[in-house]
């Protein structure tokens, strides 16, 4: 099977502080991956490293078998898209223009967006239920709507790899589910990697979960392999009970108070 992202011995430090230590992971097409771990464990830094938002060390992250450091930003943007944490846009762009920004990696500096771009943008705006909002200003939207706009922008980028950095942490539960469903339904020919806070959401949506603690991979595997009493106890310092979710049959975490 083709490995779309290979992480081999990735280390990362800010100044003298070690954030990530010797991370080795493979990500394959067709899967939804969740990265979980306590605050400050290095989840976001990991996402930034594998998307080159922060350049990693040479020869530690490979995308389609090439060192990520050798890609130009614009070419990389055709392979990997990212929804960063807390995107706050306080300029009055309308929704359509924001989604259209997803097409900019495909256009040269002075080239205008063409009808093909417009078709692609419309397709994904309809898929994310925001076509009716196209004329609205981004500053007028609710949190849930705004995050759907970001989803449409990312999908318009038409990349094989989509990275989501805590995309749902400030949304109400129905929007969290709706948002993650968008990506789950598209995963068949993509790699989706999401940093998630909510263990139960991670458990429900993921094919594979990676538990990071103190910059190292503490556990990886299917939800049942990762989400167990021992792992949660040792990483989160919290006693929990794990039951089977009656509908999805995946593990469900209940904290013991």
């Amino acid at each position: 099977m083709e490995n779309n992202i290979v992480v081999r011995g990735l280390n990362f430090s800010y100044e003298d502080k070690e954030i990530l230590r010797d991370i080795n992971l493979n990500f394959h097409k067709g899967n939804f991956y969740s990265i979980i771990g306590p605050n400050g464990s290095g989840k976001s830094t990991f996402i930034k490293n594998i998307s080159k938002l922060i350049a990693p060390e040479h020869k530690s992250v490979f995308v389609d078998n090439q060192d990520i450091c050798n890609f130009k930003n614009k070419n990389l943007a055709k392979l990997i898209s990212v929804i960063p944490q807390n995107t706050l846009i306080d300029y009055d762009f309308n929704v359509f223009d924001i989604v259209m920004m997803g097409r900019s990696p495909y256009r040269r500096r002075f080239e205008d967006f063409n009808t093909e771009d417009k078709k692609i943008v419309e397709k994904y705006m309809r898929a994310t239920n925001i076509w009716e909002l196209r004329g609205k200003l981004i500053t007028e939207l609710s949190g849930g709507e705004g995050q759907r706009v970001m989803a449409a922008r990312t999908l318009s980028q038409e990349t094989d790899i989509i990275l989501l950095d805590e995309p749902t942490s400030h949304l109400d539960i129905q929007y969290q589910v709706e948002f993650l469903n968008i990506f789950k339904s598209l995963k068949s020919n993509k790699v989706i990697i999401a940093v998630l806070h909510d263990l139960n959401l991670a458990s429900m949506f993921s094919d594979e979960i990676i538990l990071i603690n103190n910059g190292e991979v503490a556990a990886k595997g299917t939800p049942w392999q990762v989400i167990n009493k021992e792992n949660i106890k040792s990483v989160y310092k919290l006693s929990v009970e794990i039951i089977e979710n009656p509908i999805s049959k995946c593990p469900h975490v209940i904290p013991i108070l």
């Binding site: 990389l76 943007a77 706050l88 009055d92 900019s104 500096r109 002075f110």
Partner: protein, 347 residues
């Protein structure tokens, strides 16, 4: 109204361009010598190589001299500086993702002022290449300050915009302190320094224009080429980078180009506030934040705005001349407040 304007952007731009031409002709006709806008138009047409042959009547020599040697350079100069300030303001507001940014946030004005103050105090009257030494020193001060601020803000090849703003602020205060000290020890020159800092176009000449025009125009075009990158950067640096923008390169380039524009503008005309801050805002309120529209419209509106302000400053209390920076603020702020209130009512 907004939708209508947005659909007809090109038409609107041409209308504004014609309005600018008309404003320029009226501005040239204004002043103590009795010249009508019609005189201005015929004199200009008469003096144009091919069209001139088909024009009847004579052009008076004094009119010719006043129009071409005194007033026109000043009108062109004010327009060029207005254009430069507004384009730099628009690009800085995008670059710093901060609506409070203006062309002077990197301390370039105080650097230029310090250079000018030193030249004034040293009393070097000579000129080099048709440039006064004051202008030369101001230019060096402006460029030196930008280099200093940039190198302070740079950490391992990366420039954080917050660091740039803070470094600009700190250096700016330092330079202003130096100017105050220079003024205290050279009280007989205080007037000259203060007047230089308030900004004026009364020393405009064709030689100066030949130096400024290419830098302002080429600089504005380079900034315009990057309009899409600026749009993406307005949504946040991480977003811009994930959409393929090499943000560090864009920042570096924009700062170099903008500083060149600012250095020539400030060193020839002094510190004219407000234009670079308010014009991009006015344009943004009317046409929206897209830099594809914002940059060219800011350029044109900036030129018109400063031309209008300069014309008012030299005619309203004639023969005295008001500082043009005061006029820009006096006519600019009420209009800006009006736009803000209108916006507030709409939303």
């Amino acid at each position: 109204m907004n939708k209508f304007i947005n659909k007809k952007r090109k038409t609107f731009f041409i209308i504004l361009l014609i309005a600018f031409g008309a404003l320029a002709i009226v501005a040239i006709s204004m002043g103590s010598a009795n010249i009508t806008p019609y005189n201005v138009l015929t004199t200009i047409l008469k003096s144009t190589p091919i069209i001139g042959k088909y024009m009847e009547g004579n052009v008076s020599n004094t009119h010719f001299l006043i129009i071409f040697m005194v007033r026109m350079p000043r009108v062109i100069m004010a327009s060029l500086v207005g254009m430069g300030l507004a384009v730099v303001g628009a690009s800085f507001q995008a670059l710093f993702k901060n609506p409070m940014a203006d062309p002077y946030v990197l301390g370039i004005s105080s650097g230029a002022a310090l250079g000018a103050a030193i030249a004034i105090v040293l009393n070097i009257a000579s000129t080099a290449m048709h440039l006064s030494v004051i202008t030369l020193f101001a230019f060096l001060g402006a460029v030196g300050t930008t280099v200093l601020v940039y190198s302070i803000a740079q950490v391992r090849g990366k420039v954080l915009t917050v660091n740039l703003l803070l470094a600009g602020c700190a250096v700016s205060f330092f330079m202003s302190a130096m100017i105050s000290i220079i003024m205290v020890f050279n009280q007989e020159e205080v007037n000259k320094i203060v007047f230089w800092m308030m900004g004026s176009f009364n020393a405009s000449s064709w030689n100066n224009i030949l130096l400024i025009a290419p830098i302002v125009f080429i600089g504005a075009i380079i900034i315009y080429i990057f309009y899409r990158d600026f749009n993406l950067m307005l949504t946040g640096e991480d977003n811009a980078r994930s959409l393929g923008v090499d943000t560090e390169r864009v920042k570096k380039l924009a700062i170099i180009v903008a500083s060149m524009i600012m250095a020539v503008c400030v060193s020839f005309s002094g510190i004219i506030g407000f234009v670079g801050f308010i014009v991009p805002h006015m344009v943004r309120i009317i046409f929206g934040p897209n830099n594809k529209t914002l940059i060219p419209f800011s350029a044109l509106v900036g030129a018109m705005f400063l031309l209008l302000a300069d014309t008012i400053s030299r005619t309203i209390a004639s023969p005295a001349e008001l500082p043009v920076g005061a006029v820009t603020a006096l006519i600019g702020s009420p209009y800006f407040i009006y736009l803000l209130i209108k916006m507030k009512k709409r939303s």
